[in-house]
Symmetry: C2
Subunit: 109 residues, 2 copies
C-alpha cells in the first residue's frame, strides 16, 4: 500500500502554484525558454504561457524576466523569487510526504 498526495496553493480562490506549474517553472529555469519548456512537457506554447501568466498575475513579485539582446539575449530567466517558489513548494511537498508516511504507519487498513 502507498499513500499519495497532491498539493497546491490558491490565492484569491484561484490556483497559484501546484505540481504542474512548478514542473513548468523548473523547465523554464533549465532551458531559459518558454517554448523549449513547453515542448519538453508536451504542452502547447499558448498553454505554457497562460499557466506562467496565471502565476505572474497572482505573485507578489516578478517570476520571469525576459533577456533582451546581449550575448545570451532572447531567453527567459526565472527570477530569484520564482526560484524560491520552486524550492518552497518542493520542500513543502517533501515535508508532507514524510508526515504522511509516518501517519500511514498508524493506520489499520
Amino acid at each position: 500500500m502507498d499513500i499519495k498526495s497532491r498539493l497546491w496553493i490558491e490565492k484569491d480562490g484561484k490556483p497559484f502554484i501546484g505540481y504542474g506549474r512548478i514542473k513548468l517553472l523548473k523547465e523554464v529555469d533549465k532551458t531559459a525558454s518558454i517554448s523549449a519548456a513547453a515542448k519538453a512537457l508536451k504542452m502547447s506554447y499558448k498553454k505554457a504561457w497562460n499557466l506562467l501568466n496565471d502565476i505572474e498575475t497572482l505573485a507578489t513579485q516578478p517570476v520571469l524576466v525576459k533577456n533582451i539582446g546581449g550575448k545570451n539575449g532572447g531567453g527567459t530567466q526565472v527570477t530569484d523569487y520564482g526560484k524560491s517558489l520552486i524550492v518552497q513548494f518542493e520542500t513543502l511537498n517533501e515535508n508532507c510526504i514524510n508526515f504522511l508516511e509516518n501517519e500511514y504507519k498508524k493506520l489499520e487498513l
Copy 2:
C-alpha cells in the same frame, strides 16, 4: 492564500480509498442503499457499484454486507471495517490539513 491537498491511498498500484470513494461509502452508510447513495452524489448506479467493488477487491475484509429479507431487509450496510476506513481516512485528512496549515505559515510566497 490557501493551501489545498488531495490525498488517496493505493494498494498494488491501484487506487484503494480517496476523497470521492469515502464520500460514497459515507453516503451508503447514511442511506443503507447503493442506489440512493449514487443518486445523492449524482452518479450512475453502475459507477457507484464499480467504485465500491474496487474498494472491496483491494480490502482485507468485507466493506459492505447485503441485508437479505427481514424487517429492514434489502438494504446495504457498511461493515465495522468499512466504517473504520471512513474514520481513518477522515482523521488522516484532518491531520494533514493541520500539518499543512502550520507549514504554510513558514512560507514566503
